[in-house]
Structures are given as C-alpha cells and as structure tokens.
Amino acid sequence: MFRVVVLVVMGGFFLVPIGAMFEFSTRGNSVTAPRNLDAWQNIVKTPDLTDAITASLELAAITTVAMLVLLLPTMVWVRLRFQGLSRVVEFVCLIPLTVPAIALVVGMVPIYRWLNINFSSSILTLSFAYLVLVLPYSYRALDAGLSAIDLKTLSEAARSLGAGWRTVMLRIVVPNMSTAILNASLLSVALVLGEFTFANLLAYENLQVAIAYVGLVDAGTSIAVAVASLLFAFILLMILSYFGRRQAPLAKAEEADFQLGQTIGLSGGLIGRGR
C-alpha cells in the first residue's frame, strides 16, 4: 500500500509537467482554436533556432572528439607509465564537479575576451570551455572502461609484436572499450546540447540560450523545441543506460554504474541546468 501511494504520487509529479509541455506546444492561437502543430512547424521557420541548433550540434561533435583525443591517450599513458599520477589526474578531472559553473564562467570571461580579440569570436570556441565541463563525466566513463581491461598486458603484447603506439591506441585500446567510449561520448553530447550557463554569460547563442530568447516572444515554439531537445537527450541517455548494462560482470558493472550515477547526479546539468 505504502509503495503504491509513493509511486503514484511521484509518478504524477514527474509526468505531469512533461505532459503539460506537450499540451502547451499543441495549443491553437485562441481559446477556441483547435489543436495544431503550428508551434512545431515554426521551429524550422525560425532562423535563430535553426542556427542555434546547428551551432550546438557542431559544439557537441567538436567537444566530444576533443575530449576523446585529449583524455583517452592521457589516461592510457598514466596507467602504463605514471601510476603515481593517476590520483592527480582523477582529482583534476573531478574538480569541475565542485566548482559551480556560474563561478567558473566568471573566471573564464577574461580568457574569452582575449580569445575573441586574438583568436576567433566564433561560437565554436565555446568547446574549450565545454571540454572542462565534460571532464568529470568522461573521466568516470572512460575509467570504468579502462578498469575492465588488462591494459598493461594488452599493450605489452601488442608492442612485443611490433605495434607502434598509434596501433595500440586505435586497434587495441579503442576496440576493447568501445562501450565506455560510447558512454563518454553520449554523456558529453547530452551535456553540451543542454548547456546554458557558459553560453549565456559569454554572450553566445547556443540551443538553450536561443530557446530562452524565443520563449520571450513565442512561448509555444520555444516549448516545442524544448520538448524536442528533451526527447533527444532522453533517447541518448536511454541508449547509454541500455549499453552501460551489457558489459562486464554484474557486480563490477553495478559499481561503475553507481560511480557514474553519482558523478552524473552531482552537479547535474546534463539536460540544461548547466548547474
């Protein structure tokens, strides 16, 4: 009885707002107007939104690739050669969790002013900052993958057969931890697509900022985009939780899940709280 009551009340609390967004985005222009999908069609007719969607997708791609290229070789290298530094790297990667994004961005403003003048003022420079935001999540996801394979033996075997480090990385490490790489990538994509704080305060118009602006004029359309981006992120995270469960012995997988869950939970911001 207790369980039923708890589950029904909570279910209502969590489902009603999402349902209400759908309801709101299909309303007609006046009280008596029939339901329609005008708001959804307006998404593609609003250049602000399409530009921002493109920019956010590009940012997600750049950030994810940069994260993999920067973080994965470093983590592999630390495990093979600098065991003593692994704590340091972990600590550094988890720092962004405890520094509120709104605080971090204050310190980034002068850096971006400099970048704007001396490098580029393109919105894509935001990837530098986003890489910091995705560090903790990517670290935990990749760390879970690396812990599940015997990296030392694998790399020594490959090296003794004459493989160079590039071959070791691309043909030994990457295929052996494809799930972890997928997890890290999905997390970083979801995080970048939902990011608001950095973009807003560094004066760039990414997806979330555009949604907020459009919402001031046309609530229906911006709620429609919001629903769409939410669904997209849900799908990403569902894929993640599906694949996340298939690898490794159960106990280990659950441990990793728990750690990852804690990392995700802490600070949150995956779908746009941006903390």
Binding site: I18, V99, P100, A103, G107, N200
Partner: protein
C-alpha cells in the same frame, strides 16, 4: 593542441620501450596538463586575483567586504533557503521512493524503470525545466487552468511561480531523482536478516527503525541531503530562464554584475561572490565526503 597530444604520445613512447635512456615519456602528459592549466586553473587564479583587485588592478578587500551589503546578504539567505528547503523535501521524498523501490523485486521491471528514469530526470533542468513548469502551473498552464475550473485558485495570494516558492518547487523536480540515485545503495545495504534479528530479540517495527535501520541510514541520509544542497546552491540556468531580472539568488546576482550593460558591471564583486559560492560548496562537499565514508564502512 589535441592532435599534437596523440602525436606526442606516439613519439614519446618509442625510445623507452627497448632501452633505459633518459625518459621522455612525460611529454605524453603535456597536452592534458597545458589544457587543464589554461581552462581550469587559470580561471580559478583569475577568480582569486580578481576578487582582491579593484578596477585599476590595485589590491583591495572592498570586493570581499561588499558581500556584507544587505542586498547581497539577502541573496545569500535566499540561496541558502531555497537550497535547504529543496534539499530537505528532495531528500525525504527521494528516500521514500528509494525505500519503495528497494523493498521490491531487485531484478523487477519497476526497479529498472525507476532507476533509469531517476538517472534521466536528475539531469532535467535549466530552460526546459523552467518552461515545463510554466506550461504546468503558469497562469495559462495546464494544471493551473484545470484546478481553477474546479474552483481552486493557486494564485489567490499572488503569482508565486516566479519567486522563491516557485523556484523551490521546480528544484525539487531534479532533487528527488538525484536522491534516489545516491541514496539507493545505502538502502540496498540494509539486510533483511537485521530485521529478523530485531524481531527474534522481541523488537517491533518501531525498535527496528529507531535502533537499527535509522542509525545506520542516518549518516548516508544526511550526506545525500548535503549533496542535494550543493546541487541546488550551484544551479543557475533554471533560475535564469524563469526569472529574467533581479537578483533573487546569488547566481543571478553574479550574472547581473557580470553582464550589466548600463555601466554598472562590477567584475571584481562578481568574482568575490563566485569565490564565496565555491567556498560554501567546498565546505558542504567536504562534510558530504566525511559522512559518505562513514556509510561505506558498513555498506561494502
């Protein structure tokens, strides 16, 4: 820089593999640490230095003392209040939900559905979440209109959605799922044998909760509540999307000081406030870590 990282790893590895020559393998770590230095440590240093400097770059403590101004103290109090209330509500509701899930079938559909949903919903926030609540209990919202047509006016005493109570309500939406994620392992750690042991010693439900399960879960519960507090305290985007002007809570004040276009931008003060936020979050997280360690003593 990042492409060079792979190259450096590749290049640096070769000489060492066969011989014991002077090691250049540290070169492989350079890109990562350069990046982190530029985009993680440099901002922190800028924060620290900037909060101690005036507009001309001279040393001053005025930024830090300005935090004591009434309007900023008020924002801090509001931030604390919203974080504490949403953390408390979230912790209690989340713990109930975690308990409801933990007492069910550990391999059942319900558990999988709730944990997956919690993982997703704990991330739900920002602009989207603010809009979801505007569409729900805003003045043209679904639920507002539904109960109004049945004679209940939610806003009989004024529209509270865009003020502290509304923001607190919205925050609980991501606090409860977060609590489920972080608290469930502790609830799972409670063994049914302990209850049986209590019963065989003549204890009832009250004794079990008062002397066995309660004391065991208390540190974890408090720790998780602290985590929720830090989570709400750091949140900015939801409030920014909901409240377009004013400085109700500290993150909004920081944003105002940073972006004000009327010449009233005070970057030094913004940095001091950011620093104060970091200090609060660090203190809370340190306490959380201590409590979490106590839990893990018996959990694993």
């Amino acid at each position: 820089m990042t492409a060079a990282g792979t190259a450096a790893v590749t290049a640096a590895g070769r000489p060492i593999a066969g011989s014991r020559r002077l090691s250049l393998s540290w070169v492989g770590l350079v890109p990562f640490f350069i990046y982190v230095a530029l985009f993680l440590f440099l901002p922190t240093v800028i924060l620290l230095a900037g909060s101690l400097a005036d507009k001309d770059g001279n040393f001053t403590l005025s930024n830090l003392t300005t935090i004591a101004e009434p309007y900023l103290v008020k924002s801090f109090a509001a931030s604390m209040e919203i974080s504490a209330v949403s953390a408390l509500v979230g912790a209690v509701a989340g713990a109930l939900l975690a308990y409801a899930v933990a007492t069910g079938n550990p391999r059942g559909l319900l558990r999988r559905a709730v944990t997956s949903a919690a993982g997703v919903l704990a991330q739900f926030g920002g602009v989207t979440l603010a809009f979801a609540f505007i569409a729900t209990v805003g003045v043209t919202g679904f639920v507002y209109e539904f109960v109004r047509d049945r004679g209940v006016d939610l806003y009989a005493n004024g529209v509270w959605l865009y003020e502290l109570p509304g923001l607190t309500l919205i925050y609980t939406y991501f606090q409860i799922p977060l609590m489920v994620i972080v608290f469930l392992p502790a609830v799972d750690g409670i063994r049914p044998q302990w209850r049986e042991a209590t019963e065989s010693l003549g204890g009832g439900t009250w004794h079990y909760w008062r002397y066995v399960a309660g004391p065991l879960l208390a540190p974890s519960f408090l720790g998780c509540a602290l985590l929720l507090f830090a989570n709400a305290f750091s949140a900015y985007a939801t409030a920014a999307a909901l409240i377009t002007q004013g400085g109700l809570i500290v993150p909004l004040q920081i944003a105002n000081l940073l972006t004000s276009e009327t010449g009233r931008a005070q970057p030094g003060l913004a940095k001091a406030l950011a620093l104060a936020m970091i200090v609060v979050v660090l203190l809370v997280m340190a306490l959380y870590t201590v409590l979490q360690r106590r839990t893990s003593n018996w959990l694993r």
